[in-house]
């Protein structure tokens, strides 16, 4: 086998020599300014899109709800949503900065694989969390907006409107409302899990397998 590998090495080197100018200087110059297709770049692009959506879509929507339904401000709900949106900025910002940091590294292969694994894992966790948080917020907003304008807006009003019958019926209604919320959460959870698996599942498995291959003595 040693001999065969030596012969192979010579052959390969001869081939490389004959192709030493495979890419011309001009091609190389062009290459280094093209768009990258690396997973880190993809994650960064996606994170920037999420951040921009949060700023340019969610914030105006939150403001619009506050203006159109000033009654919601009585519950400080708009502020709460607003704070929640703002709270995600540093998290997304942290991950974006990580992608820039990561690109500047020239760590060894095992470390590099671990970094990529952690980055994708965190990205998936954050996306799952954001998706799961959006369901109860939307659900509560929807319920609160069903309180007629003539009524003062409070959780008590909502309770008074929804639960007017006997205790057993109230309990059933409460359980139904809770069931709907849980159903939404479950649907979102499984949809997100499926989506993230389609996006990164195979890739993550491959990375994990390579790490364990490097760890196994």
């Amino acid at each position: 086998m040693e001999m065969e590998l030596e012969e192979f090495k010579d052959q390969m080197n001869r081939e490389v020599e004959s192709k030493s100018n495979w890419a011309a200087t001009v091609d190389l110059k062009e290459m280094i300014h093209r768009r990258s297709g690396s997973v880190v770049q993809k994650i960064r692009r996606s994170l920037w899109i999420e951040l921009l959506i949060l700023i340019f879509i969610n914030v105006p929507i939150a403001i619009d709800i506050g203006v159109s339904y000033p009654r919601l401000l009585q519950l400080n709900l708009i502020w709460f949503i607003f704070l929640l949106i703002i709270a995600t900025f540093p998290v997304l910002g942290y991950l974006i900065s990580k992608t820039y940091w990561f690109e500047k590294q020239s760590s060894n292969i095992k470390e590099n694989l671990s970094h990529i694994h952690i980055l994708i894992h965190r990205y998936c966790q954050i996306n799952m969390l954001l998706a799961l948080l959006s369901a109860p917020i939307g659900y509560c907003l929807g319920l609160l907006l069903s309180v007629p304008a003539s009524e003062p807006l409070s959780w008590q009003s909502l309770k008074n409107i929804l639960f007017t019958s006997s205790e057993t019926e109230n309990l059933i209604l409460f359980l139904i409302l809770l069931g709907i919320l849980l159903f939404f959460e479950l649907v979102i959870y499984f949809l997100m899990r499926w989506y993230l698996r389609v996006l990164f599942g195979k890739y993550l498995r491959k990375i994990k397998q390579l790490i364990s291959e490097l760890e196994a003595e």
Partner: protein, 164 residues
């Protein structure tokens, strides 16, 4: 010379490394181009970390292997072989046993895992086990063990693919 010019010059001189990595890690013409470009791009992006304390070739190998191993591939159906592969895989009118053996070796290496391919490439470029270990993030002993297993695997794979 500006930083970009310096980088292009170095890359031009060491293109063989990118060529070898692409040769071992790709099977399709489209993949070849994508990988070559991605390696050049990643090398440029992390060029600021190259301080000259290590050889440029070692540094480039590290970047190229990291890029090749972690490339996020889209599934493509086209199965066009790159020009270079064609040149080597097209059988001559009269089969040359040596050529067949080399082809068998290329096919055998293609069957190895991404990690093993990296180790073989570095081994073929005469890197000592210590350097290979540093690049891979494992101990030199581990490299030696892996290399011995790889050789056995290559032996059995080449024997399988050679005509009896």
């Amino acid at each position: 010379m500006d930083r970009e010019g310096e980088f292009i010059k170095l890359l031009q001189q060491h293109q063989g490394i990118i060529y070898k990595v692409c040769r071992v890690y790709t099977k399709q013409a489209d993949d070849w181009d994508d990988m070559y470009q991605e390696i050049a791009l990643q090398a440029w992006k992390s060029f600021s970390t190259f301080r000259g304390d290590a050889k440029f070739s070692t540094w480039l190998y590290r970047v190229a292997l990291n890029t090749a191993i972690t490339l996020f591939k889209r599934s493509k159906k086209a199965a066009v072989l790159p020009e270079a592969t064609e040149q080597l895989t097209t059988p001559a009118s009269e089969p040359d046993p040596k050529e067949e053996q080399l082809q068998a070796m290329y096919h055998a290496i293609a069957e190895l895992s991404e990690v093993d391919k990296a180790i073989v490439l570095l081994f073929l470029d005469d890197y000592p086990y210590e350097d290979i270990g540093q690049m891979m993030g494992i101990t030199p002993n581990h490299v030696a063990v892996k290399m011995s297993r790889i050789k056995t695997k290559l032996q059995s794979l080449t024997q399988q693919s050679l005509p009896k």
